[in-house]
């Protein structure tokens, strides 16, 4: 890349991310012509579970991410249940939905106000809001002050969402309540009534502040309704089991901005490592057979993330993909659309909470005694706030012999693959104008819209 700009660290996300963009003037506009995303941390989570008791998976894998621990706890429990074909009580299904939806809400609200907003509006004049890039801030002082007041209120709402989840989940983050066979806590009348108070306040916040604020910012920056399109390929594994063989957000996939929904076949998933700091000895494996051995340095590699591909192609995953596939938001594919879809998904979830509370059997069990088989394999797919999440495991002799995880950010922030196809965020960055080379805030806007979570993505996949 001739005119290379490096942003390292990219702040206001979870984990460690470096972005390199090649900038050239095309058609009179200085813009990104090429981009590379590098996950700059290797956690080596892969061997943590090997040899451990299967029941520990739900506890240990939650520690992959402190923002989205809940989906790891849920899907690890589901994968263990799949090894022995366990059924869980209705109360467990509902409590998992409720706590997972709360987790989406806290993550989404945190993402807009605390991770993204400062790309568009100036914060207070003190750390951690200073120093800040001041390029292209179009929102005036009064509106900025109002948005920052909402930033503070949102901190309180995020806290309250976590309190609401903890009513059933014990605590947040890192809940001990997820267990193969169900959920540890029995819902009481008192707990349900307590949760209802929170639901009302949270839904009101989403309706009256979050959605209007997202739309207000989008209106101030209308060109971001076109910028950051990316691959146009969306995938969702489906989430929030409604107990009637349907989900609140169904699984599916689309190609290149289509409205034609195609099925997801998990067997079509492969992971490539040609540009990743992992050995090439076993390339392009399905996650159930994934082999990962760190190799640093390595010629041509630039990231600790692997590059998962579906049928050889990169896919974007996340709220916009979920909402698009569910037919709930199909306005466009851009930076602004990612924020708008995330906010609207939040309202759908906030409004679903009451129904789930009403469906709980007061005092009824949420757990069916279950021991996974001594030898077996299992897999489970769900959605985390940031998109498609899968866990695959094998148990041998009553211990975990192999565990593999693909997180949403593995898809979105992936590096190039063996066909040299850039990952979704890398593609989305191309064509982004850059006004000030010292302060390329436009790059942050495109990256942040995907809400990348590098803590999740760099767990290194064979656990």
């Amino acid at each position: 890349m001739a005119n290379l700009l490096v942003v390292d660290p990219v702040t206001r996300l979870e984990g460690h991310l470096r972005v390199e963009v090649g900038v050239e003037t095309v058609g009179g506009v200085q813009q990104v012509v090429e981009a590379r995303l590098a996950g700059t941390s290797f956690r080596g989570f892969e061997r943590l579970l090997e040899g451990r008791a299967p029941a520990e998976a739900a506890h240990l894998t939650q520690r992959i991410c402190g923002v989205c621990s809940v989906p790891h706890g849920v899907v690890a429990s589901m994968a263990l249940e799949a090894t022995g074909g366990a059924q869980i009580p209705t109360n467990a299904r509902i409590l998992r939905n409720f706590v997972l939806a709360a987790n989406f809400l806290q993550s989404h609200i945190l993402h807009f106000y605390h991770l993204s907003l400062l790309d568009f509006a100036a914060g207070p004049d003190s750390p951690p809001w200073t120093p800040a890039w001041k390029a292209d801030l179009r929102i005036g002082p009064e509106d900025s002050a109002r948005l920052i007041e909402h930033y503070k209120q949102a901190l309180g709402i995020v806290r309250q969402v976590n309190e609401m989840a903890a009513i059933f989940a014990g605590r947040q983050p890192h809940s001990p309540a997820f267990i193969a066979g169900g959920f540890t806590q029995i819902p009481t009348r008192e707990a349900i009534e307590q949760a209802k108070v929170y639901v009302k306040a949270i839904a009101e916040f989403v309706r009256s502040l979050y959605i209007p604020d997202v739309d207000f910012v989008a209106n101030q920056y209308p060109e971001y309704g076109k910028l950051g399109r990316g691959t146009g390929n969306f995938m969702s594994f489906g989430v929030f089991d409604l107990g009637d063989r349907t989900s609140l957000f169904g699984p599916g996939r689309i190609s290149d901005g289509s409205t034609e929904i195609q099925p997801v076949d998990p067997q079509a998933i492969r992971e490539t490592v040609v540009r990743s700091w992992f050995e090439d000895s076993a390339p392009n494996r399905h996650p159930s057979e994934g082999v990962t051995q760190a190799a640093y340095p390595k010629e041509g590699a630039y990231s600790w993330l692997k590059a998962p591909r579906y049928d050889g192609r990169p896919y974007e995953t996340g709220p916009l993909a979920r909402m698009w596939i569910a037919g709930r938001y199909r306005t466009g594919i851009s930076v602004n659309d990612r924020h708008k879809a995330r906010a609207r998904e939040s309202l759908i979830l906030a409004e679903a909470l009451s129904g789930w509370l009403a469906g709980l059997e007061v005092g009824g069990t949420a757990y069916t005694a279950y021991t996974p088989p001594v030898d077996g394999t299992g897999a489970a797919l769900t959605e985390a706030p940031r998109g498609a999440l899968g866990h695959w495991l094998r148990i041998t002799g009553g211990k975990i012999a192999h565990y593999q995880i693909i997180t949403p950010t593995c898809w979105n922030a992936s590096p190039r693959d063996d066909a040299n196809q850039p990952g979704p965020i890398e593609q989305a960055l191309v064509g982004t104008p850059v006004q000030d080379r010292e302060h390329p805030v436009e790059v942050l806007r495109v990256v942040h819209a995907f809400d990348p979570c590098l803590a999740c993505a760099v767990h290194a996949l064979r656990i």
């Binding site: 402190g66 207070p124 750390p127 809001w129 890039w133 806290r159 066979g181 757990y367």
Partner: protein, 303 residues
């Protein structure tokens, strides 16, 4: 353009007055910790999950500081936090480099594999800075190093098994005294109260694991309201002692049973689960089910 905290407090007062809020309380909290000329705070993240930061944001208290926003705006000058800082790239690296009177908070363990390149939190110009380098250098300049969470304190979950990233505790790297606030995550009150004490220059008595005795001095089991309620033989039964299902409460120093979590809403054992012992250097201890007399072999859950 850096403005002092004092001038920012005036801004806050004006802003809150504009919003119709009572700003008389601002003067009181201004003195809650540190003062305008007190040390700033640098918060680094290494090999971890950001869960300690999320837990910090859950902070709420009837006393000053009252919540996370209050801490950020009026109690500390958080000169760097990777998840909260507005700036990015070289701008924040320069901010970290010029800090000279600061408390260093470290979240996450320190990866040492591949010459430290298992974690590169930032670049300075063309030079990649490893987390190990950053911790060594900043710890040597810091007035105090505080380890937030079990990973920074003891290595934690990233350091178990074969430890392929070579993760070490911060104290092992610095060779110096750290104040440890373990927990996976730590309770927000533990983080904030320790930070405020450090900012106020108080001497913090610690136990043999570097933890403030005021927080970690008593074992969970000794304060557990379910300790004498009969033993649970299986999950799915609430309000019993979970010891036979692998509860680590008897060996875990922490005030969870008394303080509870998330604004006093709940805690692990009250939720019908077990204490995982997350404030101890042994975390995550392999949890083996301790079969009681009523536990049928091969039946029920196995932990």
């Amino acid at each position: 353009m850096l403005i002092t905290r004092r001038s920012f407090l005036k801004y806050c007062a004006a802003a809150s007055a504009a919003l119709g809020l009572d700003h008389s309380a601002l003067r009181a909290v201004e003195q809650a910790a540190g003062g305008p000329d007190g040390p700033s705070v640098l918060w680094l993240q290494g090999s971890g999950c950001s869960g300690c930061s999320i837990s910090f944001l859950n902070y709420i208290s009837p006393n000053d500081p009252k919540d996370a926003a209050d801490v950020l705006i009026r109690s500390v000058s958080l000169d760097y936090h990777p998840t909260l800082s507005a700036g990015a790239g070289q701008m924040v690296v320069d901010q970290v480099k010029k800090a000279d009177n600061f408390i260093l908070l470290v979240e996450g363990g320190v990866p040492t594999a591949f010459g430290g390149h298992a974690c590169v939190p930032w670049s300075d110009g063309d030079k990649e800075i490893t987390f190990e380098q950053a911790v060594r250098e900043l710890a040597s300049k810091a007035r105090q190093v505080v380890c937030v969470g079990t990973c920074a304190s003891y290595g934690g979950i990233n350091a178990i098994g074969e430890n392929p990233a070579g993760v070490k505790a911060v104290g092992v790297i610095t060779g110096g005294n750290t104040v440890n606030v373990p927990g996976c995550p730590p309770h927000p009150n533990w983080i904030v109260s320790t930070l405020v004490s450090v900012l106020q220059g108080k001497t913090i008595p610690v136990d043999d694991r570097g933890r403030p005795t005021s927080i970690y001095g008593r074992r969970i089991h000794d304060e557990c309201p379910f300790e004498d309620r009969g033993k649970a033989r299986s999950f799915g039964v609430n309000g019993r002692c979970m010891e036979e299902l692998g509860c680590q409460g008897p060996g875990t120093g922490a005030p969870c049973a008394r303080m509870k979590w998330n604004n006093g809403i709940n805690w692990c054992v009250q939720a019908g689960s077990i204490c995982l012992g997350c404030t101890e250097p042994s975390f995550p201890n392999p949890v083996e089910r301790r079969r009681g007399r009523g536990g049928g072999r091969g039946r029920g859950p196995r932990m």
